[in-house]
């Protein structure tokens, strides 16, 4: 019995010392849990040793009681690790919980309720809170000395911290969530610096059910593969595909709202947003400069965007999206009529991942009505015309070499991408196409991801255009997300 008392005293000392250390040391919650688990394991081992040496009687009764309490503590620690989803405190907290004996009806398993299951829409205890994340990327570009036609390129190499982005979210409750992305571009803003600060998105979600949710605010236009997933670890290439810069002008955001959700093998989005402004369309940049970005935007014309993705097969995404709306924004033609300038942008896209293989393809097109009238209003002549039709496509393949090893967590991906795009595929009668806008690009590169949230990319780009003024370049980029 004296040995038991001594043991209990030691336990108390250890527990008290542990608790004191927990209070003093700046340990993380995980570290605290680990210490508790270790303490319990040591205590359990000591109890087992005592039981082995016990001669029975009152000592065994006391040891059994200590064991029972240890099991209770084990349950408490499990609940602490799992958090809100843990079995409610009202449930029996004994070492052996017979769940079928609680008297509640037992649901029948249909075999179709993996993941979220039928209870996906249930909402239990919730807390409010702020969440923070972000990403960033830096890019070095080294340009060839000569153009495609042999003339000097006169391009200076450059290095730029393209963007440092902070996500801030706030969960008002389990239904209402705010998501924002604040972006600092090109490192420095000021009189002598070209950087800028922008709100990339800021929207409020109403989470109703997997099938129907609502979103409103400054939203990302749900088109293509990069616009919504534009973090540097989400795409290959030191630079984003130019098709998804000039035909689909990432990062494209407008103010508006709509619904989104998943139903069966399909996920969808349908938004009404502020439309583009044709006053800023151009021959080489296409519709890119016509994005209003939620900055004192003209709101005379609105647009509808719809997107549908098929995701039945894990690893495969196939989908399409379309944006359509007038872009005159209240301007009138030189003849005095209303300028509609209906602009429709559409794309079909696919992404397939299988083992170490990653394949991606996208085709995008744009049609702009009253292009001749836009040219007249914008003062464009000759080959400066806005493209009445614009189009582009790319295919991309990569293979993770480290997938050939059995345990590597890092990824080493050689990749290749070929793309074509033309921002003046068709121009109105009386205008000419500029062959410099008819581009072909081949990108060969290597990406290394030591961990999922960091990426280093290096690639070489052969850039050609029909005017033979293309300049090859090689690039090095680093990116991070957190």
């Amino acid at each position: 019995m004296r040995r038991l008392s001594r043991f209990i005293s030691v336990c108390l000392y250890v527990a008290a010392a542990g608790a004191a250390a927990l209070a003093q040391a700046p340990a993380t919650a995980d570290e605290r849990i680990e210490r508790l688990e270790k303490l319990l394991a040591e205590t359990r081992a000591e109890v087992s040793a005592l039981k082995a040496a016990s001669t029975g009687g009152a000592t065994d009764v006391k040891l059994a009681e200590i064991e029972r309490k240890i099991d209770i503590l084990a349950g408490e620690i499990e609940a602490m690790k799992i958090g809100e989803a843990a079995t409610p405190a009202s449930a029996p907290a004994t070492a052996s919980t017979t769940l079928s004996a609680t008297g509640k009806p037992v649901p029948q398993d249909t075999g179709e309720r993996y993941g979220l299951g039928l209870s996906a829409a249930k909402v239990y205890g919730l807390r409010r809170g702020v969440s923070i994340g972000g990403y960033g990327e830096a890019l070095y570009e080294n340009f060839g000395e000569r153009r495609q036609d042999g003339a000097l390129s006169n391009r200076n190499d450059r290095i730029d911290f393209l963007r440092a982005v902070v996500y801030v979210g706030y969960k008002f409750d389990d239904r209402w969530v705010l998501n924002t992305e604040i972006e600092y571009e090109h490192a420095v803003t000021g009189e002598d610096a070209g950087g800028e600060v922008a709100v990339e998105f800021a929207y409020i979600d109403y989470l109703h059910s997997p099938a129907v949710n609502a979103r409103a605010g400054l939203v990302l236009v749900p088109m293509g593969l990069v616009n919504e997933l534009h973090e540097p670890t989400a795409f290959l290439g030191a630079r984003r595909p130019d098709v998804e810069r000039f035909i689909l002008p990432t990062t494209w955001r407008e103010i508006g709202g709509g619904v989104y959700g998943d139903t069966g093998p399909l996920s969808y989005r349908a938004y009404v947003t502020s439309s583009l402004d044709s006053a800023d369309f151009s021959a080489s940049n296409g519709i890119r400069s016509g994005r209003q970005q939620g900055a004192e935007a003209t709101a005379r014309d609105w647009a509808l965007t719809g997107r549908l993705d098929f995701t039945r097969v894990p690893g495969l995404l196939v989908g399409a999206s379309v944006f359509t709306g007038d872009t005159g924004q209240g301007r009138r033609t030189l003849e005095g009529g209303e300028l509609d300038a209906r602009t429709t942008v559409w794309d079909v896209h696919a992404d397939w991942r299988w083992r170490g293989l990653q394949l991606r393809a996208l085709y995008a097109g744009t049609s702009i009505g009253q292009a001749a009238e836009i040219n007249a209003l914008n003062g464009f002549t000759g080959n400066q015309s806005v493209g009445g039709r614009q189009e582009g496509w790319y295919v991309q393949g990569a293979f993770d070499l480290l997938s050939l090893t059995s345990s590597a967590k890092a990824a080493l991906l050689p990749y290749v991408r070929y793309e074509q795009y033309d921002t003046q595929a068709r121009v109105p009668a009386g205008f000419a196409r500029n062959p410099a806008n008819d581009n072909r690009e081949l990108t060969l590169g290597l990406a290394f991801q030591p961990i999922d949230q960091l990426i280093f990319k290096a690639d070489w780009q052969e850039r050609r255009n029909a005017a033979r003024t293309g300049v090859n370049q090689w690039n090095v980029a680093l990116g991070y997300i957190f």
Binding site: L22, I72, G117, G133
Partner: protein, 190 residues
């Protein structure tokens, strides 16, 4: 100086409660533990068990899972029996996806392969939550080199971190299960 043994549990419980408050995160809860177990084992008798791993067992589990860290010394799991037969074992794993956590239940069938995975709570934006069908691909997968997003587990466009975190959790659970429930040695054929 003498203390009642109950003080031990009170002290540790107080520390546990403090840690609980410290690690509280806002999460969307899809299933409680009890609901998840009912879903996995309808009509079965489910008993909670706790096991304390030796250091050797922790090392073995880490080696099998390929995880960066050994599992905790304390393992809690739920053993289901139905009609007098082993119906499987459920484990709960909470892990960080990007910056916040996800809790999943991994059910191991009597042969030691994954029977199913259920998401209990998910704190990241729901854009990072794979669709239910993605989780279905884990059914029947044993602990081997194929249990990897680089191999036999298809990743998810836009939810890569979740796919990796879930797969790592599945490996942890199967490794732990194998350590706690080693297969009986094979007897040579007569």
């Amino acid at each position: 100086m003498r203390f009642d043994a109950g003080v031990v549990s009170r002290v540790v419980r107080a520390a546990a409660a403090a840690a609980l408050a410290a690690c509280a995160l806002e999460a969307k809860v899809f299933l409680t533990q009890e609901e998840a177990l009912r879903l996995a084992f309808p009509g079965a008798t489910v008993v909670r068990r706790a096991a304390f791993l030796t250091e050797a067992q922790q090392r073995e589990a880490q080696k099998l899972s390929g995880d960066d860290r050994p599992p905790a010394a304390l393992a809690t799991f739920y053993v289901a029996r139905k009609d007098g037969r082993d119906a499987g074992t459920a484990y709960f794993d909470t892990h960080v996806v990007r910056t916040t956590s996800e809790t999943i239940m991994v059910v191991v069938d009597p042969s030691g392969s994954i029977a199913r995975i259920e998401v209990l709570s998910f704190s990241e934006p729901e854009e990072y939550l794979p669709r239910p069908r993605w989780y279905a691909q884990f059914s029947g997968k044993p602990l081997d080199a194929e249990l990897s997003v680089k191999r036999g587990v298809r990743p998810v466009v836009g939810a890569t971190l979740t796919a990796r975190a879930t797969t790592a959790a599945a490996r942890r659970v199967l490794a732990l299960h194998r350590v706690l429930h080693p297969a009986p040695p094979r007897t040579p054929a007569p």
